[in-house]
């Protein structure tokens, strides 16, 4: 019933989405994880187009792939999770200035 093109595209998208989901959970780098979720949303958005849901696709694209990733990325910065190299961390800690308060916490 379904035309084979749709079949193959959706299979591809599903594989991509699975991979994105798994890598979002398994990759060491938090930044990569966020990018993976973005990719997942993008795939989902395309799938929505395929499923004749343009409204939802647009929303998923804008909200899921765009806004949500933006929020997550901002969170990465504020949580100090971004940056693998020492240099990057140094820059970030200069910029963000969000030092954990463990010392104070352990005193109380």
């Amino acid at each position: 019933m379904a035309d084979p093109l749709m079949l193959w595209i959706s299979a591809l998208l599903v594989v991509v989405m699975w991979a994105a989901a798994l890598s979002a959970l398994l990759l060491k780098s938090h930044l990569a994880a966020v990018v993976s979720t973005s990719l997942l949303s993008l795939g989902l958005s395309l799938l929505f187009v395929l499923l004749r849901a343009p409204d939802v696709a647009l929303t998923e694209g804008v909200v899921g792939a765009g806004l949500s990733s933006l929020i997550l990325a901002l969170a990465l910065i504020r949580l100090g999770l971004v940056g693998g190299s020492p240099r990057e961390r140094e820059v970030l800690s200069e910029t963000v200035g969000d030092k954990p308060v463990t010392e104070r916490g352990s005193q109380q």
């Binding site: 940056g83 240099r87 990057e88």
Partner: protein, 98 residues
């Protein structure tokens, strides 16, 4: 008209494909960015032109899209490149491992 439009479309698709190829082939991140930006920008624009030939009524919207692409693609790639540079990734020199 239709033929010209088709030609533009083909041209655009070709450049997009080339851009994609560049992503794979290029040796380092800066080169890949450049391939992904330059070729794809051109490809996209020609795709837009091709569409414009097919659907003249859409021209205003297409113009806006073109403007958007022109604005964001270079800026985005530049910013990315700067970010990479700042985070300490050295540009590739001939003879380096890929």
């Amino acid at each position: 008209m239709g033929v010209v439009g088709d030609l533009f479309l083909l041209f655009g698709a070709l450049f997009c494909a080339l851009g994609a190829l560049g992503l794979v082939r290029m040796p380092d991140v800066y080169n890949r960015i450049q391939a992904g930006t330059k070729a794809v920008t051109l490809g996209l624009l020609s795709l837009l032109v091709g569409v414009a030939f097919h659907q003249p009524a859409w021209i205003p919207k297409l113009l806006v899209i073109a403007l958007f692409v022109l604005l964001t693609n270079p800026v985005g790639s530049t910013t990315l490149a700067r970010a990479f540079l700042r985070s300490g990734i050295e540009p590739w020199k001939r003879g380096d491992k890929r």
